[in-house]
């Protein structure tokens, strides 16, 4: 393979003052982009990051010639995307978020189709296919229908289909969402290999902030405008000296410490990372000036200043722009946490599962899963899309019949009497399942009644939900028009109206932006400290840190189980003394 000369980079894409409005004729036009300037250079990776609805996907679709801006101009290879789209299309590769693989076609047939669509001459095809299959590790599966591939393999095949003719500009819309960490690593390896070997330019949007870190150039978007742009490192400066890791004291859980830190008024961001709390303080915080790098006793545990990452700067930037995570009112916490901390000894199992099995015909979706969850714990079920999390979950809630094994939830045998436990559990489905045409309070009232709440109790719980989830001022808003973050809150509120002992949350953070995810976990943490047992599934490996115990699933089987610290232990090496859960997953999956 000939490595191209690293010629001087040239601009592949130039966008000036882009304006895009959806449904411009309707009563409520949606402004997707509001004066965006953007440029993408060859031989580099430009990353778009930003919260939900920032306009990332719109921006990529414009670049692919799929949308027309109302104002402003966008040129690719010097051609206008509106007037000269047919000159651009042969030279780009575009992978939409919901990638367009034909699921009833095999891997090879999908590749053939895209090669045909890109007019790839027959002569060079076999070499290119061989190269792509080797890169994506799909060589063994060429005859398999793409619908039967795992989530990670599908995504890699999608990428390969964009590369049948090496494009000059590769446009990827969240290429790694919901993909297992191993495939995620592979996808990025392929992208960087091509950037180096072929000198192509890449425009990529991502929900993973650690991926933004690997881009050559990062564009932070919010509400259709560009907030900032630069190399990932150029963002560090704004939070320099304000980032610390704080370890819990021996008799304190890291979750407890996290909740405590979030209550401080001078905190910008706090997340749990490798068993410690990573905190970003505001620039006017007294904490920053006083410490000057040395450890502080105010927070009991050891406080260490650390080098900033892109993620710290990102949250700080959005906080200033008003897109911030709302500070949770954690009043209830002080009252109850004491009891919970003391009651550790007398905890009993809220959920007990052993030898769980589920088969669909010849396919085994869940194979021999066993675990138990103690009262008041946060238990995480982790894995990539298609690992069997949701199937396991549905069996736990009594929504799906198990093929074998035993399940006890709140003392009830779920295989024999699934309905008995139902009043004691709350369930939030992965897909938003409230009535879109109802207002917030109508939805809550309906769910309250469905759970058998009456008069006073119903009024009391409705008031609680509106206050607790900060929706008082939106209670008469029609659910349909709520922003995504509020829908999430509403769904969770509905699941908690009947004061369940156990809360089941299926992929609550899937599709949520980093800020919404933070808010969500702060809330979960709070409920758990109030004594609610929480079982949650997620495909974000870093979210495992918020759990007390977790089980990592892959292909329907248990890959690892234990506390976050125990799981991280699998990946401790000399080179990496503080691995993440993701490192551990890759280590375990690679065997």
């Amino acid at each position: 393979m000939s490595v191209r000369e690293k010629a001087a980079t040239k601009a592949l894409l130039e966008a000036n003052d882009l304006q895009v409005v959806f449904k411009p004729q309707s009563k409520h036009p949606i402004v997707a982009l509001h004066g965006l300037n953007l440029s993408v250079a060859s031989g580099s990776v430009t990353g778009l990051v930003g919260p939900d609805g920032a306009g990332k996907t719109t921006c990529l679709r414009l670049a692919a010639g799929l949308l027309v801006p109302q104002a402003g101009a966008i040129t690719v290879f010097g051609h206008d995307v509106v007037r000269e789209a047919e000159k651009i299309r042969p030279r780009i590769g575009y992978m939409p978020q919901q990638f367009g693989l034909y699921e009833d076609l095999s891997v090879q047939e999908n590749l053939d189709l895209y090669a045909d669509l890109h007019d790839v001459p027959m002569a060079g095809r076999d070499d290119q296919f061989a190269r792509l299959l080797e890169m994506t590790d799909l060589g063994k599966f060429t005859a398999r229908r793409s619908g039967q591939l795992s989530g990670g393999m599908k995504q890699k095949l999608g990428l390969a289909c964009c590369l049948v003719k090496i494009p000059e500009l590769l446009i990827l819309d969240e290429p790694t969402v919901g993909v297992d960490p191993v495939s995620r690593r592979d996808i990025w390896r392929i992208v960087y290999q091509l950037v180096q070997e072929e000198g192509l330019g890449v425009l990529v949007s991502t929900a993973y902030l650690d991926e933004a870190e690997r881009c050559n150039n990062v564009v932070v978007m919010h509400n259709g405008v560009k907030l900032a742009e630069g190399t990932p490192a150029s963002f560090y400066e704004r939070v320099q000296g304000r980032v610390y890791t704080i370890s819990p004291t021996p008799n304190q859980s890291v979750r407890h410490l996290h909740g405590e830190i979030l209550q401080r008024s001078d905190i910008v961001d706090a997340s749990i990372q490798s068993g410690t709390v990573r905190a970003v303080f505001s620039s006017d915080s007294g904490f920053v000036e006083e410490t000057g790098g040395k450890e502080r006793r105010e927070l009991e545990g050891a406080v260490t200043p650390v080098a900033p990452r892109f993620e710290d700067a990102f949250v700080d930037m959005l906080q200033q722009d008003g897109a911030a995570v709302e500070k949770l009112s954690l009043d209830g916490m002080q009252r109850t946490q004491h009891g919970v901390e003391q009651g550790i000894e007398e905890r009993q199992a809220a959920i007990d599962v052993s030898g769980l099995l589920k088969t669909f015909g010849a396919f085994t979706a869940v194979h021999d899963i066993s675990f138990s969850v103690q009262r008041g714990e946060i238990f995480g079920l982790l894995g990539a899309n298609g690992a069997g999390k949701t199937t396991t979950f549905r069996m736990l809630c009594g929504l799906l019949k198990a093929s074998g094994g035993s399940i006890h939830v709140a003392g009830n045998n779920m295989r024999k009497a699934p309905s008995k436990a139902r009043s004691r559990i709350g369930y939030m489905a992965q897909k938003f399942s409230l009535y879109q045409q109802f207002t917030v309070s109508q939805n809550l009232r309906f769910y309250g009644k469905a759970y058998g709440l009456k008069r006073d109790a119903l009024t009391r719980r409705l008031d609680w939900a509106l206050t607790e989830f900060d929706m008082e001022d939106r209670k008469d808003v029609v659910t349909q028009s709520l922003p995504a973050g509020f829908k999430q809150r509403l769904a969770m509120a509905a699941a908690m109206l009947h004061e369940p002992e156990i809360l089941f949350l299926d992929e609550p953070t899937s599709g949520a932006d980093p800020l919404a995810r933070r808010e969500f976990w702060a809330r979960i943490n709070k409920f758990s400290q109030e004594g609610v047992t929480v079982v949650v599934t997620t495909h974000f490996m870093e979210e495992a840190e918020y759990c007390d115990h977790l089980l990592i699933m892959a292909q329907g089987q248990q890959l690892a189980a234990g506390t976050p610290a125990q799981i991280r232990q699998h990946a401790v090496t000399e080179a990496k003394p503080n691995p993440t859960i993701e490192d551990a997953f890759i280590m375990l999956a690679d065997g």
């Binding site: 047919e86 575009y94 919901q98 045909d116 790839v120 446009i171």
Partner: protein
């Protein structure tokens, strides 16, 4: 407009063919459904009643009445039961066991001997008026034939109340299968042409494959052709099956030219495909597209094309609406070609209207099939 690339088009058509072959629903709708429809309509839903149960009340046993009774018994149109009194027959009628009563009074022979008018009473169940009228015709026919023969034998004349001899042109046996099968061809081609294709573009939108497709160099013309060609072939297979079954199994005569039938069938099929693709590109949701095609193609083809109901007996408004329905013209074409032959005075105007509709629908589908995402 960019030229059409052979490689792209070939790749796209190959993909469509693979999808059709692997999707049981399209084979079901394209091949199995026509056969089932033909069998149901060919055997089950015959508009011509046979084995009509009737009650014979014959108060007088004479050679003449015996022969009349035998005529009913031997006819394939009737399944007569002989009862002894009118009240008994009425009970049978009320309990829906017979559709008609034929009553011959005790003075029948003597009146006839005397050369006077000898009436035969006929009582019919009028709940299904259409059927009642047909049965009336049969019975009058049977009696008429009998009286003719009787007159010949005896040299005397018998004038029954009135004998109407129905004569239906081109379907001399009044065999409704003959007119149904050609009409069914229209229904089957509508099903394949519109129902099936209405789903295919909406499916690409729903599964997200359209977005990926639109970012490749493929042109709208290529997408349109790529969708038209495979479904045209599938539709023609359905048509061939229907013709073969019709001619060989149901023995419907094909009096016109097969070539003309195939040619005009192609025009109708392409018009149907155009409508299906238009609905599909406009709806973008399979459910909506399916509803749209049922309302705009299948139901009109069934009810407003003259296939099931004679349009001349419908209100004027319905007749006006039916003029914009392609199926109406194709029903006329197929019935003419099968039962009458190459009658150009009928075929030509209908074909011209179909051709115009075909062009309009395909152009509309091409226009709707944008090159960008909805905004």
């Amino acid at each position: 407009m960019a030229g059409i690339s052979y490689i792209r088009l070939r790749g796209f058509i190959r993909k469509e063919v693979l999808q059709i072959r692997r999707d049981p629903s399209s084979l079901l709708l394209g091949i199995v459904m026509p056969v089932i429809l033909l069998l149901i309509f060919g055997y089950g839903v015959s508009l011509e009643p046979t084995n009509v149960p009737i009650a014979l009340v014959i108060d007088e046993a004479s050679p003449a009445t015996q022969e009349l009774k035998a005529r009913f018994q031997l006819s394939r149109y009737f399944r007569p039961v002989t009862v002894h009194s009118i009240p008994e027959a009425v009970l049978l009628m009320e309990s829906n066991h017979v559709d008609g009563i034929v009553h011959i009074r005790s003075n029948f022979s003597s009146l006839m001997e005397a050369g006077e008018e000898a009436p035969i009473q006929l009582i019919l169940n009028g709940i299904d008026a259409n059927r009642a009228r047909i049965v009336e015709g049969y019975i009058q026919n049977a009696i008429g034939m009998w009286s003719e023969r009787f007159a010949l034998q005896t040299g005397r004349s018998y004038a029954p109340p009135v004998v109407i001899e129905p004569r239906i042109w081109f379907n001399a046996a009044a065999n409704s299968t003959y007119s149904l099968i050609p009409g069914l061809l229209t229904l089957i081609m509508t099903l394949i042409g519109t129902q099936l294709t209405a789903l295919v573009i909406a499916r690409e939108w729903e599964r997200g494959t359209m977005e990926a497709l639109l970012s490749t160099p493929i042109s709208s013309d290529e997408i349109l052709l790529g969708k038209l060609v495979p479904y045209y072939v599938l539709g023609m297979i359905g048509m061939a099956l229907s013709i073969i079954l019709g001619v060989f199994l149901f023995e419907v005569p094909l009096r016109g030219s097969l070539f003309v039938l195939v040619l005009l069938g192609s025009i109708f099929l392409i018009a149907s495909l155009g409508l299906g693709l238009f609905i599909s590109s406009a709806a973008r949701i399979q459910f909506v597209a399916a509803m749209g095609s049922v309302l705009s193609a299948f139901l009109p083809a069934f009810f407003l094309s003259g296939l099931m109901f004679d349009l001349k007996s419908t209100p004027e408004a319905i007749q006006y609406i039916s003029t914009i329905i392609p199926a109406k013209y194709f029903v006329t074409i197929t019935q003419t070609l099968f039962l009458a032959g190459n009658v150009w005075s009928v075929l030509l105007p209908a074909s011209l209207v179909l051709l115009v509709m075909c062009v309009v629908l395909v152009v509309a589908a091409r226009k709707k099939l944008g090159r960008r995402l909805p905004q």
